[in-house]
Amino acid sequence: MTVQKVGQLTDRLRAAAVDSARADDLWGAGSVKCRSTGIRTLATHTEHSSTNRRDFLYIATGAVGAVGAAAVVWPLINQLNPDASTLALATIEFDVGAIEEGQSVTITWRGLPVFVRHRTAAEIEEAKAVPLADLKDPETDEQRTKPDHEQWLVMIASCTHLGCVPVGESGDFDGWFCPCHGSHYDTAGRIRRGPAPKNLVVPPYNFVSDTLVQIG
């Protein structure tokens, strides 16, 4: 029933004075009973109803209801978030000692593939020689490695465009090439050409000993 119709009905009913005193007791002044359905509804504002008190009750009830609904909905959504068993894999240790110069391995951290590359001296040279102005996402080679361990490049192996795994030792910049939509990364894993907006992400990690890396 539209508000307008309720309004019309109210007027008619009031004119006929059909509102019983009992209904007023139960529903408050200004309630109306629909003649055809027998359902009682609150009348829209009339000069008789205590507008302010009723409005306040409406808003207060609505607000409590909304908070209650949100409190119920949140756990229903939150269950979608990574669960405890997924989060438990958050930190790993890996010994890089066995990786020869010029070799890369792919390990898994939090389910994500991670490249660990033992870079050659030539690759490091090449990365350092690039002027920052040439970069889409400017970062120096030093910012992407750890001091005294600059031969090690540790990066999440997800293209920053849409998450494909780039192919190593390829592309126009001797680093990585993502086959999905053609992003080229250099020997420091920095984006040089293609749709990817950012450099390959360096995860939080540190060397706990000379060759033992802790990621996460």
Binding site: I77, L80, N81, P82, D83, T86, T106, T108, R110, G111, L112, P113, A157, S158, T160, H161, L162, G163, C164, V165, P166, V167, C178, P179, C180, H181, G182, G194, P195, A196, P197
Partner: protein, 416 residues
């Protein structure tokens, strides 16, 4: 809806029932006697064909779900198990997989039909909007279904498409992890996609009911686009259109079963017969053909604009390319519905169609060289059609004279 009912109960039992639950009356009025323009052509059978497609997906899908296992270790094998071991499973799986493609064939024809004949114009805007909503829901359903066999294409499609959300500023990454249930696509992702893939078709069915409701308020549009003026312009839905629709369905089923019987995998991709490996991306990933035009638009944007990086911009264009359909009724303000009577629109519609097919082609082409440039041109044209051509045409075009009624358009020449 129809004020005067065409239903009169035949006996006391029918009357008793009708007084309590008038479903028979409803079916009589809406499925049998509904006055339908008498000039509808075969493009109008695709609505019924789509209902059939949804039915096929739901029936075959429920059967597949009885044999399928939504777990990363077992999903791939369970689909192979369905194809090899389950009695008749080979056909049921083929019908479901081919059915998804045929669903989109019918959807695209149905949508372009509406665009050509101006079926989105007043008073059918809500009908059109519900249709676009169904299109979106079907895309979501098909995408999640494609992930279920857990092949290389499944997994990488899930990876790439969910990643789109990471470009939303601020909430992007938390939202991405929420969708995937992990830091990458994994078992939680597969499991929830299965749950939603099961749910969404029923949501679609509900929206279809609203869509048909919204159709039955103004009634069908028709190839000449003029309103129904009298009962001379219409015929009852049954038997005229029930039979025509059935015949349309039979014709549609011919290529459908041909694919299912003789080439069930031709619309798929060989890489999807390799189990998902999160460490290696196939060298050439492409989505299912029905997503290609929109995928081409996503890829075409590889440049930054002001402070918006290429990734976010691509996502904005990708989203806008579909959402713009919601606004079509207000972009094309020409009063004439049918393209038959719009001498300029007719051609621009054709160019738009060719452009859309070109986008489909470019979505599958490697992102290099000439293809990149063409994809940009076609993307630009796609938006120009909606935002410039349609509004301008509505102003400058002089439509051809309209027939005074549907009857006249059908019989006019014979009588003249």
């Amino acid at each position: 809806m129809s004020e005067h009912s065409t239903y009169t109960p035949n006996n006391a039992v029918e009357k008793w029932f009708d007084d309590r639950l008038p479903v028979v009356r409803f079916a009589k009025e809406h499925l049998m006697d509904f006055p339908t323009p008498k000039n509808l052509n075969y493009f109008w059978t695709f609505g019924a064909i789509l209902v059939m497609c949804l039915g096929i997906q739901i029936v075959t899908g429920i059967i597949l779900a009885m044999h399928y296992t939504p777990n990363v270790a077992m999903a791939f094998d369970s689909v192979e198990h369905i194809r090899r071991d389950v009695n008749g499973g080979r056909m049921i799986q083929a019908f479901h997989a081919v059915g998804a493609s045929m669903f989109f064939v019918a959807l695209y024809i149905h949508i372009f039909r509406g665009m050509y004949y101006g079926s989105y114009k007043a008073p059918r805007e809500i009908l059109w909007i519900l249709g676009v909503l169904i299109f979106l829901l079907t895309m979501a359903t098909a995408f999640m279904g494609y992930v279920l066999p857990w092949g290389q294409m499944s997994g990488w499609a899930a990876q790439v498409i969910t990643n789109i959300f990471s470009y939303i500023p601020i909430v992007g990454t938390p939202l991405l992890e929420l969708l995937r249930g992990g830091f990458t696509v994994g078992n939680p992702t597969l499991n929830r996609f299965f749950s939603l893939h099961y749910l969404l078709p029923f949501v679609i069915a509900a929206v279809v009911a609203l869509h048909i409701w919204a159709l039955h308020v103004p009634g069908n549009n028709n190839p000449v686009g003029v309103d129904v003026k009298s009962s001379r312009d219409t015929v009852p839905f049954h038997p005229y259109y029930t039979m025509k629709d059935l015949f349309g369905m039979v014709l549609f089923l011919i290529p459908f079963v041909w694919f299912a019987f003789f080439a069930p995998d031709i619309l798929g991709h060989p890489d999807n017969y390799v189990m998902y490996n999160s460490q290696v991306t196939p060298s050439h990933i492409v989505p299912e053909w029905y997503f290609l035009p929109f995928y081409a638009i996503l890829r075409a944007i590889d440049f930054n604009f002001l402070f918006i990086n290429s990734g976010l911009l691509g996502v904005i264009f990708f989203g806008a390319s579909i959402l713009i359909l919601f606004f079509l009724p207000w972009l094309d303000t020409s009063k004439v519905r049918s393209g038959n009577f719009r001498p300029m629109f007719k051609w621009f519609f054709l160019i738009f169609l060719v452009n859309f097919i070109a986008l489909t082609y470019l979505g599958a082409a490697p992102a290099e060289g000439i293809y990149v440039i063409l994809a940009k041109i076609c993307t630009a044209y796609y938006f120009i059609h909606f935002l410039v051509i349609l509004p301008v045409l509505s102003r400058i075009e002089t439509p051809a004279p309209l027939p005074t009624s549907i009857s006249e358009s059908v019989l006019g020449k014979a009588h003249a």
